[in-house]
Symmetry: C2
Subunit: 271 residues, 2 copies
């Protein structure tokens, strides 16, 4: 099995400044391609910023699937031969918007996921998705996508894992919170556990940069199929490019003892 090189690039978008943010993503995607990454993961809502006042403000900066940012990502994926996973504010019908993530392949295929579990005031702004996280059988491995708070619902993480994802890519915006001294942020701990109980790699790309009074963990992390970090895993709220080489065979082997298999050991009739 191949080794997949993944980059998470922790960036700071500017709210409502789509042109600035688009240029930021281009710089980042080209930097990842220069490292020969197969996959680059960018933060949640990197195209738009996050702390919207209301749905109308989010709608103003939102884009459809043929908008300028997704068009740029498609052309960069083709030019550079790289898979891009990144968050954007998706324009729906009737003034509605979704907190979405695109998975863009060099083949031109575009897969879009809409966040199903909304965080805090997102419930006042975005329309939640009703479809499970996609698992895309790309040229370099099977890649699932979900967004931020979705990761706190282990039932949701199970779905792409059971569907065969080797790597789950998660654009996130983790708001900063209190934690005991010396402790790893709880968001990262949950990513580790999700990876371990499914034997699936996870690449979570956070943001940095204060926005309307909100700060962020800056906790981007890439974890292996045992749940241990390969890169990141600290609170580091600055621009930060993480790189890891993932031996995907680890994720295809779900056996954890002579008699245990993390998925076959489930007893769904009892849950």
């Amino acid at each position: 099995m191949e080794t997949l090189r993944v980059v998470c690039h922790q960036l700071a978008p500017r709210i409502g400044e789509a042109d600035y943010n688009r240029a930021l993503t281009e710089r980042s995607i080209r930097a990842a391609a220069n490292l020969n990454a197969h996959v680059v993961v960018l933060p949640e809502l990197i195209q738009s910023g996050y702390v919207f006042t209301d749905q109308d403000e989010a709608h103003t900066v939102s884009e459809t699937l043929d908008g300028p940012t997704l068009s740029l990502w498609k052309s960069l994926a083709l030019e550079l031969g790289i898979i891009i996973v990144a968050g954007f504010c998706e324009r729906l019908s009737a003034g509605r918007v979704a907190n979405s993530a695109a998975l863009v392949e060099p083949t031109g295929r575009l897969t879009v996921y809409r966040k199903a579990h909304l965080w805090d005031r997102e419930k006042l702004i975005f329309t939640p998705g009703d479809s499970p996280p996609p698992v895309v059988d790309t040229a370099v491995g099977r890649i699932g996508v979900m967004i931020c708070y979705d990761l706190e619902l282990p039932e949701w993480v199970r779905l792409p894992a059971l569907a065969g994802a080797d790597l789950l890519c998660a654009p996130v915006n983790w708001p900063e919170g209190a934690r005991p001294a010396g402790e790893r942020p709880a968001e990262i701990v949950r990513v580790q556990a999700n990876a371990a109980v499914n034997r699936m790699f996870i690449a979570a790309c956070d943001r940095y940069g204060e926005e309307r009074g909100v700060n962020w963990v800056g906790g981007s992390v890439i974890v292996d199929a045992d749940g241990y970090p390969l890169a990141g895993a600290t609170s580091h709220p600055e621009e930060h490019q993480l790189v890891a080489d993932l031996p995907l065979a680890q994720a295809r082997d779900k056996s954890i003892s002579g008699h245990n298999h993390v998925h076959q050991d489930r007893r769904p009739g009892l849950y």
Copy 2:
């Protein structure tokens, strides 16, 4: 709401030596009562030891619910006014045995849970349980019980959490495994995540003491409803008594933002 004092006492049973193990538990339960603990949690299979050759050997040391060990625990709970959660090898019919845990209250009520997800060669020895983890409405709070590998199935942990458990007590025997330098054992990370996504306290009591070539993490831990450790959380394979005072109101409040509730945010129709 009350504060619940819980003790986890990491001990080393001797395989097959029920008399020795029974005396060990008496010493430990009395020590917890001397600390004014409301609840004491002891390891998985503390009554019997763990590394059995086969079902016949386990059957030899197994006990029914009126056997000498459970009778001792009932009398100590009554005498000392303490709740005891501890693992034992339960004698079933027809030569079968279960990897069980008892929750013994001062009232005389006995609740028994049989491990539903068996680890490795346990599958050759024990009959798995088919009933969900109990949640007992005790005088000091609502207490759930499960055992060791059960904790690696987040769907299973959801059940007592949704049933209202404030504290999940888990007797465990975590076999030692490799991990990167400086990393907390993955078993503890999973306990932390389970606690955080459910806002439920968890007290996991591990063992120590090499047994037939098997060593143990010695990773007993008590975590709060945010998923951060209150006691333990290192690999410390020696006798170890952990104590923590749990403000149970934290576990009754499932809100984590102005618009989020860790249980109501679930979308079971999609899972």
